[in-house]
């Protein structure tokens, strides 16, 4: 059941579209990631949700009620900021209790303890914010946002400020906390790994437009656009012509099977997107020359120069050597035709 809804949201800054006609829905209690490169409008979308920016047109609905005109204060959304924005003059307990001003001191103390326990920081109330590590600060920020029991939790690049070594652990802890809290969540990230690991569904944005929305698997397996295909997971692109619903002719007359798609006109030009794990060395197929080989343990990534582009594939390390002429074939499950 859709709890948070965004309808035709548009926002311009100085005649420049930051967000353009975005429509999205988030089911109650699930996590949506807004994924996109910098400048894609994901942060603006988040700020529009929070109410820090007013949309030029479009609506934000919560539980079917239009909240577009409401201030950030009255929306009762929780927000975790990229740099956490913890109040430096308050300690951990006071930070977490900041949004609980309506309650009695005891109720407040109890709720602070409860959310701190939720993020695994029980007993940290009296600590100064500056004494905490980056990961702990991040969890305090989450606890603070969760404390007033927000209707929606928003997170802006929640992991980007952490050391890479810390990220994976924090990501797991964050997901656990979100699951426990059961709150409808939207977060922004530019890292596909993060989006896939934390979110139930992912919305890919580009230049202010929504490119595609779906589960991680849907995006990976069925990218709707070239952009999604390349932004989500590794992919190579080959130009060709769609000769049948499930066949494309590539350079030098080589034909490859593709997943049937209704998006591309038959007989017209097509971009064929292939995942590295879908391509194999074969005795015959698309000819090319290995230009690079990167080992990752038992397998390796190979770069193969073919007519009209480069193809990346993953294969056992003894599959080929740099400089070898090779032929490539593909499994149709991971080759998608996309309109150029």
């Amino acid at each position: 059941m859709t709890f948070l809804q965004v309808v035709n949201l548009t926002k311009r800054f100085d005649e420049q579209f930051a967000v353009r006609d975005v429509t999205l829905g988030v089911t109650r209690g699930t996590v949506l990631a807004l994924l996109g490169p910098s400048g894609s409008g994901k942060t603006t979308t988040l700020r529009l949700l929070a109410g820090f920016e007013r949309p030029d047109t479009g609506q934000v609905l919560v539980d079917g009620v239009d909240v577009t005109a409401e201030t950030p204060v009255s929306r009762r959304f929780g927000m975790v900021f990229q740099h956490y924005a913890l109040f430096p003059h308050l300690n951990v307990g006071e930070n977490v209790g900041f949004g609980l001003s309506g309650r009695s001191p005891e109720a407040r103390r109890a709720r602070v303890a409860e959310v701190l326990a939720l993020v695994d920081l029980a007993g940290f109330e009296a600590r100064a914010v500056s004494e905490l590590s980056g990961g702990q600060q991040q969890r305090v920020a989450v606890a603070r946002a969760l404390a007033p029991e927000p209707r929606v939790l928003l997170l802006d690049e929640p992991l980007s400020n952490l050391d890479p070594s810390l990220r994976e652990r924090t990501r797991r802890e964050l997901r656990a906390a979100l699951d426990k809290a059961g709150v409808t969540t939207v977060f922004v990230t530019h890292e596909q790994d993060e989006a896939f690991a934390l979110a139930d569904r992912v919305a890919v944005l580009r230049d202010g437009r929504l490119e595609q929305e779906g589960t991680a698997r849907e995006l990976y397996d069925m990218p709707a656009t070239l952009f999604v295909a390349t932004f989500v997971g590794r992919a190579s692109i080959l130009r060709g012509t769609l000769i049948a619903a499930d066949r494309a002719r590539l350079a030098e007359g080589v034909e490859w099977p593709v997943r049937p798609s209704s998006n591309v006109r038959q007989g017209g030009p097509v971009n064929v997107v292939v995942r590295p794990e879908a391509v194999r060395f074969a005795p015959a197929g698309l000819p090319g020359v290995v230009t690079e080989c990167r080992y990752t343990g038992a397998r390796a990534f190979f770069q193969v120069e073919v007519a009209g582009g480069t193809v990346e594939l993953e294969a056992p390390i003894d599959g080929a050597r740099v400089g070898d002429p090779v032929f490539l074939t593909v499994s149709s499950a991971h080759a998608f035709p996309v309109e150029p």
Binding site: D14, A50, E53, T71, V73, G78, H83, F87, F98, S101
Partner: protein, 543 residues
């Protein structure tokens, strides 16, 4: 949020407060008995004495900057960069001229260095001179007072700047083979540029508006502030307006020049912090530094000591003796016992508090508008908060007296002259640049996310201000609030023009006591003012 005409209310308010009265003065200066007339302006242009007064104001201000800088900057280096016994306490004592309000400082100088002051009497006695060894009058006397009271700006600003200069830059210069002196001139001083320029601006503007020193010591020496008052006393109001405009123009040009200079060279030195003070290794050098330090402190504190001493001297017991013969607590008793003497004390305090709080509120309002909401009028607002810098107290007082002696609500004019609103209003205007600068700077350093964080946690704008912004700006608010309070409580120039029975402040009472030859009472009032200012400063610098 952008594109909407935000900040208009604030801009209008500031225009009404700081520009409108000046405009009224300009209009009055070109208004003759029968319609518009440039006769007064022409008269001003023809009269060499007017130009003499204008030039007097200008060169006194420029030389004051040089003298104050020549004292303040080296002192800052000594106390910031050298370690010797008593450095901390001496470093604080050296800033104490700041707690003497202008009129009080001038009074202290009179009793100390005046013809029959302590020092003159001592020198006269020691060398068996016929006459006093010197006369405290004219330009040298004014410059002496200015140098004494304004080197503090250079001292404090330079010290603050030195504390921020990145030690790695100094080390880099030295590793490149620069000698200590060339490091100083090629690296350290240029990095201190913005601070030194700010101190110079403050000194220049304060000197230009300085009234007490030329009023009491000027003799025949002409400066514009005293010229305006004597023209007005002589009943020639129109000419006083022209003179007022002339002084305001010089001040505004000065402000514009300084701002232009400082925008040319805003060097940001952010780094790991200053190098620790250099410990003087040789015992001789350490003790020498300490002796020099104490000597400076003694000289700096002599006026304060003089004031305290005089405050214990009953009326008319001190004539030609070297030191006063009798000391009692009578003067302080009179301050507390006599209600009409206690009243000015209470008046000054409440008016200063109101003006300071209001100035802080305006500063927060401006800071929010400029930094947080980035209103289109931000630049205008920024400039408007700076304009009172350039308006000497005399000019402001006359402008307010002119503007608010007419009842025309549709034109934003009410009769405020003679009411108890006018003095707090005048103090507020003078306080705005003192509070707006630091508060706006403080806002710039605040993470804007904190405001949004508070909003997302359900805090209203007012709650955010109270629970987040103000606690975070606390050091800046305290510091500039203390400065504003001390300035208002010691104000003399604007008060003398605008006070009423209900609002007569301490400084007017001091002048009145001086008129009666009650120097003990005047000094006792001075000591009280000094203590109040010192208390405010102590609060302002507490962390």
């Amino acid at each position: 949020m952008r594109g909407r005409p935000r900040g208009i209310l604030l801009t209008l308010f500031l225009l009404w407060l700081v520009v409108y009265p000046l405009l009224m003065v300009v209009l009055d200066s070109v208004r003759g008995p029968s319609g518009w007339s440039l006769a007064q302006v022409a008269e001003f242009g023809r009269t060499p004495e007017e130009w003499q007064a204008l030039w007097g104001s200008l060169w006194i201000s420029m030389v004051s900057v040089v003298f104050a800088g020549a004292i303040g900057i080296p002192l800052a280096f000594v106390f910031e960069r050298m370690e010797f016994p008593g450095r901390r306490i001496l470093g604080a004592l050296v800033a104490l001229p700041a707690v003497l309000p202008p009129l009080v400082g001038v009074m202290a100088f009179l009793f100390l260095y005046g013809e029959s002051g302590f020092l003159s009497r001592i020198v006269k006695g020691a060398f068996s001179l016929e006459d006093a060894p010197w006369r405290l009058a004219g330009a040298p006397a004014i410059l002496l007072v200015h140098a004494y009271s304004m080197y503090v700006y250079f001292y404090l600003f330079t010290r603050a700047g030195l504390a921020k200069v990145d030690s790695s830059m100094i080390e880099a210069a030295q590793s490149l083979g620069a000698s200590r002196s060339s490091t100083l001139f090629r690296v350290t001083l240029p990095l201190l540029g913005p601070q030194i320029i700010a101190a110079a601006l403050l000194t220049f503007m304060t000197s230009l508006g300085s009234f007490s020193a030329p009023y009491i010591f000027g003799g025949g020496f002409r400066v514009m502030t005293t010229q305006i008052v004597s023209t007005k006393l002589n009943g020639n109001d129109a000419m006083a307006m022209v003179e007022t405009v002339a002084l305001a123009v010089v001040a505004l040009v000065g402000l514009a020049l300084f701002r232009w200079t400082s925008s040319e060279r805003s060097v940001a030195a952010v780094g790991k912090g200053a190098p620790p003070a250099r410990k003087l290794e040789q015992p001789v050098a350490r003790w020498l530094a300490a002796v020099v330090g104490w000597a400076v402190a003694v000289v700096v504190l002599l006026p304060h000591a003089t004031l305290i001493l005089i405050s214990f001297v009953p009326m008319r017991t001190w004539t030609t003796q070297l030191m006063p013969p009798v000391y009692t607590l009578g003067n302080y008793g009179a301050l507390i016992r006599e209600p009409e003497r206690l009243r000015p004390l209470i008046n000054s305090l409440w008016m200063a508090v109101v003006a300071t709080v209001a100035a802080l509120a305006v500063a927060l309002w401006a800071g929010r508008a400029i930094v947080r909401r980035r209103v289109r009028l931000a630049r205008v607002i920024d400039i408007l908060t700076n304009v009172p810098w350039a308006v000497p107290g005399t000019v402001l007082a006359i402008a307010l007296a002119t503007t608010f002696s007419v009842n025309a609500p549709w034109a934003g004019r009410w009769v405020l002259v003679g009411t108890f609103f006018i003095l707090p209003l005048a103090y507020l205007i003078r306080n705005i640049p003192l509070t707006a600068g630091p508060v706006i700077a403080g806002f710039r350093q605040l993470d804007p996310g904190l405001d949004e964080a508070a909003a997302s946690l359900g805090a209203s704008r007012w709650a955010t201000l109270r629970r987040v912004t103000m606690p975070l700006l606390r050091p800046a608010l305290l510091a500039c609030g203390a400065l504003a309070f001390a300035t208002a409580v010691g104000d003399f120039v604007t008060s003398i023009v605008l006070y009423t029975f209900e609002t007569r402040p301490i400084s007017v009472e001091i002048l009145s006591a001086l008129r009666q030859n009650d120097i003990g009472i005047a000094a006792a009032f001075g000591v009280v003012l000094m203590l109040v200012s010192a208390g405010a400063m102590a609060v302002g610098t507490s962390r």
